[in-house]
């Protein structure tokens, strides 16, 4: 029983971070109606940036978060401006090719800059654990989970309580009507992409203390983000939280009780099951 709880809770903690990746993808889809196939590469970029900051300047990943958030928003906004905005009205396959292309450029730059070998960081807290009622949690994973919660609450506050957050939601729900309220929807899209990229990069930073990183890890996360958003309903930001937790738990249980070699496959199986049984996602249609 303790083992089950242990495995289950590890799944929840990991799933929280997956949710963050998925929320970014979902926000971008909700506001811009495009699927960002480079999403996982921005997770990888967040990981390597934190790795670099740690190795060259000794900056702890958790302390680097403010920098990662600001840098992520700026980079995302720039990428949107330069690569996505010009093709936003084009047919769907154009944006697919464009984001896939952006992802390829990022992963190859990472390969070029950091080499193909797996890397990780070792900190004073890497092996620390937290014990609650007989169940042991990884210390860094617990901290990452708590920060994830704070980031999600912060995002919720921005989307519902600030002028610019409301403007992004209005753009998602009715673009013409948003323009008619005086909202520059091109800027709203740029910002949504910036925030989405920042969320991906933050997830990367949060996972760095508990994962090995290789330049091609982005593809894995794009897939996970996709699974999370489809589980939660495309464009449904809150649903992505449920989707992330389900993915985390499925992977964790599958790896512990069936085979750890197929960890990533269990999430995909859950994904296919949901697609077959509830194509609109577990939590219904677009809710940004």
């Amino acid at each position: 029983m303790t083992t089950f709880l242990q495995v289950f809770m590890t799944g929840i903690l990991t799933g929280g971070v997956y949710a963050l990746v998925g929320i970014g993808l979902s926000l971008i889809f909700g506001v811009m109606r495009i699927v960002n196939f480079a999403h996982g590469e921005f997770v990888a970029l967040g990981m390597y940036t934190s790795l670099l900051l740690f190795q060259s300047m000794g900056i702890d990943p958790y302390l680097a978060l403010p920098l990662i958030i600001v840098g992520g928003i700026l980079l995302g906004a720039l990428v949107e401006r330069v690569f996505i905005a010009p093709i936003i009205a084009a047919p769907e396959h154009v944006s697919i090719l464009m984001t896939v292309g952006v992802g390829l450029v990022i992963s190859n730059l990472l390969l070029f800059g950091f080499g193909a070998h797996p890397q990780s960081i070792f900190t004073w807290y890497s092996t620390k654990t937290v014990r609650v009622g007989g169940v042991t949690f990884s210390g860094p994973l617990s901290v990452s989970f708590l920060i994830t919660l704070a980031v999600i609450l912060g995002l919720y506050w921005v989307l519902t309580r600030t002028e610019i957050g409301r403007a992004m939601r209005a753009t998602a729900q009715n673009r013409d009507a948003a323009e008619l309220q005086g909202i520059n929807t091109a800027v709203a899209r740029m910002l949504a992409f910036g925030i989405g990229v920042a969320l991906a990069a933050v997830s990367g930073t949060l996972l760095l203390p508990v994962l090995y990183v290789i330049p091609t890890i982005g593809g894995v996360f794009t897939l996970k983000a996709f699974v999370v958003t489809v589980l939660g309903g495309m464009g449904n930001v809150l649903g992505a939280i449920g989707g992330g937790l389900i993915l985390g738990v499925t992977e964790s249980l599958g790896a512990a009780y069936i085979s750890s070699g197929y960890r990533d496959a269990f999430g995909l199986i859950a994904f296919l099951a949901v697609l077959l049984l509830r194509p609109a996602g577990l939590f219904g249609k677009s809710r940004v």
Binding site: R166, L180, G182, I183
Partner: protein, 234 residues
């Protein structure tokens, strides 16, 4: 104050407006009438920049609006209540009214305008925290008008505000339009409800097949034989 000078507008290869010209002077209530498909909605969408004319000009207070993005045009003081209301389905009444005053100029007067709008539409006070998709048709129309008023517009464009409403609610909506007009807002009203629109209008334009074919004061057009025959069933 608002001048449309022979605009031509097309959807792709299909031209639907031909040399459309019209004018709205400060303080007027101008009606734009015509059968379904005549081009009324297209005209309003061209004015607020949702569509770009192939040729022609649109002037507001002497400034050329042609080719500007809608958000820039709205900033100059034109509010547009689109056909079919175009609310944000998952947002509350409160959020709509906050979005209506998104622009800095309107944000500064948000509290005053909110009081004003809620006194014109008391039902919105009752529904303040309700999501738009749960409102009745009449309430949704009132919310769409209220949202537009929150921007403190100089000119208000209304596209078929009575569409799909019960007769009693239609009367209420027309009453409110007159009231807003009396308070000093210039109005361009698109309506298929020709009788009522012409009754409250200072002037009116009649459109047919993408062209303006008649123009005159509301009472002149009410008495005009062709208008009577085509739109009033007399």
């Amino acid at each position: 104050m608002l001048l449309v000078e022979s605009i031509n507008v097309a959807y792709g290869d299909l031209q639907v407006l031909w040399d459309v010209s019209l004018s709205v002077r400060e303080g007027e209530l101008v009606a734009l009438i015509g059968a379904n498909g005549a081009g009324k909605t297209t005209t309003l969408r061209a004015i607020t920049g949702l569509l770009r004319p192939r040729s022609g000009r649109i002037l507001f207070d002497g400034k050329d609006l042609t080719g500007l993005s809608p958000h820039r045009i709205v900033e100059m003081g034109i509010a547009h209540v689109p056909e079919g209301r175009q609310l944000f389905p998952l947002m509350t009444v409160e959020e709509h009214l906050l979005l209506g005053s998104f622009l800095p100029r309107a944000r500064a007067r948000r509290t005053q305008n909110l009081e004003r709008v809620l006194s014109i539409f008391p039902v919105l006070r009752e529904r303040f925290h309700q999501v738009a998709e749960t409102l009745s048709g009449g309430e949704q129309q009132m919310l769409a008008i209220a949202r537009a008023l929150m921007s403190d517009p100089k000119v208000l464009l209304l596209d078929e505000p009575s569409l799909g409403l019960a007769p009693l609610i239609v009367k209420e909506v027309f009453g409110i339009i007159e009231q807003i007009h009396k308070e000093g807002v210039t109005i361009l009203l698109v309506e298929q409800n020709v009788q009522q629109a012409l009754t409250i209008a200072d002037r009116a334009f009649v459109m047919e097949n993408g062209r303006v074919v008649l123009e005159g004061s509301g009472s002149e057009l009410l008495a005009h034989p062709e208008v009577k025959k085509a739109y009033l069933g007399m």
